[in-house]
């Protein structure tokens, strides 16, 4: 009898544990509800300059709207690789952050807008009078079917060669403007035992970036854009030619490229171990802030061969997901984000240039000023490697094809896999 009593008591205990487990989960849900009233800003800005930029932006927002509680929900990981996975899970579980970082172009339009997860922001653009404050081609990148879905905060340029000034001066070389000049320079450097081009493709998007720069340099922006809309087949002779150039370029890169990330590759130029590196202009922030180098003294910059009038654009934007509890607060944040003040608070720290055309160039360094000037007249080409040109699914397959190509250097096989992946362009 006693034994049975004991077991009954313990059974009761087990159930009470379960019930208390349930009740504690309901109380966390209450907490969540309170948290939802917070303005949760989701991004992958955790690196040196970018985190400072985001904090400056949040500080500015708090000055203007002291009553709105803000939460900086940044997830670490280069190029947003981890953040995007977290975001996808949250969006599918109908638990969107109040606003989140997303690259303008396909990542926004073919991704979240097509999935029906975003609210249009036309009224906000009307109210703030933004329609002529951003370049039209940039607004097009964040629009689908006549509706605008996000606010661009910054612009990065993808088609830049960073070169070591000392190496170029010592060898009497001038930075290359065409592919012929590039290979002439690279040959000279190679005979002197200097690595001409550094690459760090531990994460394959860096090699994809190099390829897209060559692609634009070979076929030009108009044809480049047509590739992703499906108006030009991916086995176009221009693409084949660009792939061959890419293959030739790979003969000039460091042997240990697959163990390096982009910072390691940039560092080779900074330390004088390599002459050139192709990377987006966040590399400038790395040179200046982390390696303490001086623009145009220690390192120089020039557009990648054949892309002087082109601008491989990577733009970070923020939008309003459907189903958030505080859409008005989100719009307040977006209005700060899109203001001249907001853009000038964020961009000089992040090392990017403002997306608005009327921001104050005096606040930017030498590189920024020149890029702001270039941005006004250049032809904008959305970056493939950063998800602006084509859907993520297609990009994943291109990254895989690039990863194979860098080792095997089989042009036909690469073109075949591009064509095979092109069915994912329409998604």
């Amino acid at each position: 009898m006693k034994k049975r009593w004991l077991s009954l008591v313990s059974l009761l205990l087990v159930f009470s544990f379960i019930i208390s487990g349930c009740s504690s989960s309901t109380s966390t849900k209450d907490k969540d509800d309170k948290k939802a009233a917070k303005l949760e800003i989701f991004s992958w800005w955790t690196g040196a300059g970018e985190e400072d930029g985001l904090k400056a932006l949040i500080k500015l927002f708090k000055e203007k709207y002291p009553n709105v509680p803000v939460e900086n929900a940044a997830v670490a990981g280069g190029a947003g690789t981890n953040a995007k996975a977290v975001l996808a899970s949250r969006m599918q579980g109908n638990d969107p952050p109040a606003t989140f970082q997303v690259h303008g172009g396909a990542e926004l339009n073919a991704g979240w807008v097509a999935a029906g997860k975003m609210e249009p922001l036309n009224d906000l653009y009307e109210k703030e009078g933004w329609k002529d404050k951003f370049p039209q081609s940039l607004i097009d990148m964040v629009s689908k079917d006549g509706n605008i879905y996000s606010v661009p905060v910054n612009i990065h340029r993808g088609n830049v060669i960073w070169y070591n000034k000392k190496i170029f001066a010592d060898n009497g070389l001038t930075p290359p403007k065409t592919f012929d000049e590039f290979f002439a320079v690279a040959d000279k450097l190679k005979t002197k035992g200097i690595t001409p081009l550094s690459l760090g493709d531990k994460e394959p998007w860096t090699a994809t970036m190099l390829f897209e720069d060559i692609l634009v340099g070979t076929i030009g922006t108009e044809k480049y854009i047509k590739l992703w809309s499906g108006d030009l087949p991916l086995n176009d002779p221009g693409v084949v030619e660009a792939t061959k150039t890419f293959k030739k370029m790979l003969d000039y890169v460091n042997a240990d490229h697959s163990s390096r990330n982009w910072q390691d590759a940039s560092q080779m130029v900074g330390k004088g171990e390599a002459a050139m590196n192709v990377m987006g202009d966040w590399a400038k922030g790395y040179f200046v802030n982390d390696l303490k180098l001086k623009t145009n003294e220690d390192f120089g910059f020039i557009t990648t061969p054949g892309t002087e009038g082109d601008f491989l654009v990577i733009t970070d934007t923020f939008g309003l997901p459907k189903g958030v509890k505080n859409p008005d607060d989100v719009k307040k944040f977006l209005s700060v984000l899109g203001s001249v003040e907001g853009q000038d608070a964020f961009n000089p720290l992040k090392g990017s240039i403002p997306a608005r055309i009327d921001a104050d160039p005096a606040k930017y360094d030498e590189y920024g000023k020149q890029t702001i000037a270039d941005f006004k007249d250049a032809k904008l080409a959305p970056s493939l490697a950063h998800g602006s040109a084509a859907p993520e699914g297609f990009l994943t397959k291109v990254n895989q094809a690039i990863n194979i190509f860098v080792t095997q250097k089989d042009v036909d096989q690469f073109i075949d896999s591009l064509v095979a992946a092109s069915s994912d362009l329409k998604k």
Binding site: S7, W112, A114, K202, D256, G393, L395, T396, I404
Partner: protein, 323 residues
Amino acid sequence: MELNRTEKGSAVLPETKAKRNRKLTTDHLLALCFILPSIVLIAVFVYGFIGWTGYVSMSNWNTLVPDFSFAGLKNYAYLFQDYRFQADLRNTLVFTVLFIAVVVLAGQALAIFLDQKIRGESLFRNIFFFPMALSFVVTGVVWQWLLNPTTGVNLFLKKFGLDSMWYTNTDILAGFKWGKIEFGIPVAIIAVVIAAVWQMTGFSLAMYLAGLRAIPEELKEAARIDGASEFKVYRKVIIPLLRPITVSVIIIMAHISLKIFDLIYAMTGPGANFVTDVPGVYMFETTFRGNYYANGAAIAIIMLLFVAIFIVPYLISSRKGES
């Protein structure tokens, strides 16, 4: 058998039988009440989700928008024709074979050495066992630095004229064309095997040491009295008696190596030309970066089947052993 006998015996006293039966049912009921919560939880959160994954793997959900229309085995067919997945299968096979072989042999050898009643045995045991306490991510980061071609042990090796590319090497040993890939032993995977062995040998050492201690001294004595040399005692008596330990070590290591993700992800990533890629890494990237949810689910199911190949025969044989 036991139960039958009791019933036969109690047939003389029908009252007792009824009482006993009722007692049995309340006992059963109580036991069921205890087990029920965990049965329900496991049914939903393990088997329910396995079923759900299987369902997704046969759907067309390969974008951000869920699409549950039936696709049959299309995703599986795609995977087995995919260059990357074929490379993953090769890498998993090579990794599993090398990893298990080295862990079993090294663990056994170290255990036998430690069993020689040497001084400071517990110190050595702890030193060998310590890497087990680390997470695979830490191991991955450490070995990534150690085996990096431009830093790490290579700075030392270069002084002796040895220059290895380690995990950046894209060569395939004994390779031949098979399907879309070059089948063989990727050199880069050996670097990963070294790191994994460094971490897991301590575990197999501990298992074997326990096994050695469980062998009765009389058996060894008897063999020695019969005139067996010390080497023969090990070969004919001790190592055969360690067989059940070997089976356990193989099962445990196989399920680790077939599902490995964190070590590879932290140490090398997919690698150039996918020389160090494994299904776990592919599943993560294709699902959460490429939004190919159905493909990712198909990879998960294939991985489950791989592990089942090892686990199910083990479960069946251990059930047989019980009855």
